[in-house]
């Protein structure tokens, strides 16, 4: 609904950041996964965001104001896998090396902080939009 547009924009940001957090959690959970359906170790994944395009049916005169965000795509990180010397591992090759996922835990933790803060920022924006709406109702009081 149009009267809650800024709330919907914040809601889309909240949702997008939650999905990003899911991807980061998957990367952290699979940091040592050596078997995947595609074969080989787990590939780290990352997301890109895209602006939600204004639908043409709404007769808003400022088209660029107030559009939401969504996850554009979840892409595999193409960086090479890490080869670790680990002879007792079930997936070790004859030289004792195992291919480990290309997940960098430090990087994932940093992304996690960004996602958390972005989520908080969207919740704050939602709260501000809400209090502006409530303040507007006080105009006539």
């Amino acid at each position: 609904m149009d009267q809650f547009k800024n709330l919907n924009v914040s809601a889309s940001g909240i949702e997008a950041n939650r999905m990003w957090m899911d991807v980061i959690a998957s990367n952290i959970a699979n940091a040592k996964t050596t078997k995947t359906p595609e074969g080989g170790p787990y590939r780290a994944k990352d997301v890109s965001f895209a602006q939600i395009l204004e639908d043409q049916t709404s007769q808003s005169n400022n088209v660029l104001a107030g559009t939401g965000v969504q996850i554009n795509e979840v892409k595999d990180d193409k960086s090479p896998f890490v080869s670790v010397y680990y002879p007792s591992h079930p997936d070790a090759n004859k030289d004792g090396y195992v291919l480990m996922p290309n997940v960098n835990p430090m990087q994932e933790m940093a992304k996690m902080m960004i996602a958390t803060r972005a989520y908080e920022a969207n919740v704050s924006a939602f709260g501000s939009g809400k209090s502006m709406y409530l303040k507007a109702l006080e105009i006539g009081r």
């Binding site: 809601a11 939602f126 809400k130 409530l134």
Partner: protein, 101 residues
């Protein structure tokens, strides 16, 4: 919250509520009763939406709490708006009924 569903029947004929939106340029051409009953209908729908979202969440059909909270907030704001509108209408009515000649 389901006790709120009969809100649509306070002397207003639901059949008069049309899907015409509240566009500023045709407010003057619609009867106030029609506009007001439409607002009440929308609010009622929003409350029922929120109700359904809470139910879905409790039953496990929705996994994330933010959807529920956002629906609830929207319903809350819509209700506040409608209550404020109603206050204004009652105020106007009382103003007229106090008129002395």
């Amino acid at each position: 919250m389901s006790e709120l569903s009969p809100i649509s029947s306070i002397g207003l004929n639901p059949a008069t509520a049309s899907p015409v939106g509240l566009k500023p340029n045709n407010i003057g051409s619609e009867s106030f009763k029609k506009v007001f009953s439409e607002v009440i209908h929308q609010t009622n729908n929003q409350l029922q939406d929120a109700d359904k979202t809470v139910k879905d969440f409790v039953e496990g059909n929705i996994g994330n709490p933010q959807d529920v909270m956002i629906r609830l907030e929207e319903a809350h704001l819509a209700l506040q708006f409608t209550v404020q509108l109603r206050n204004k209408v009652v105020e106007a009515y009382q103003e007229i009924s106090r008129m002395q000649f």
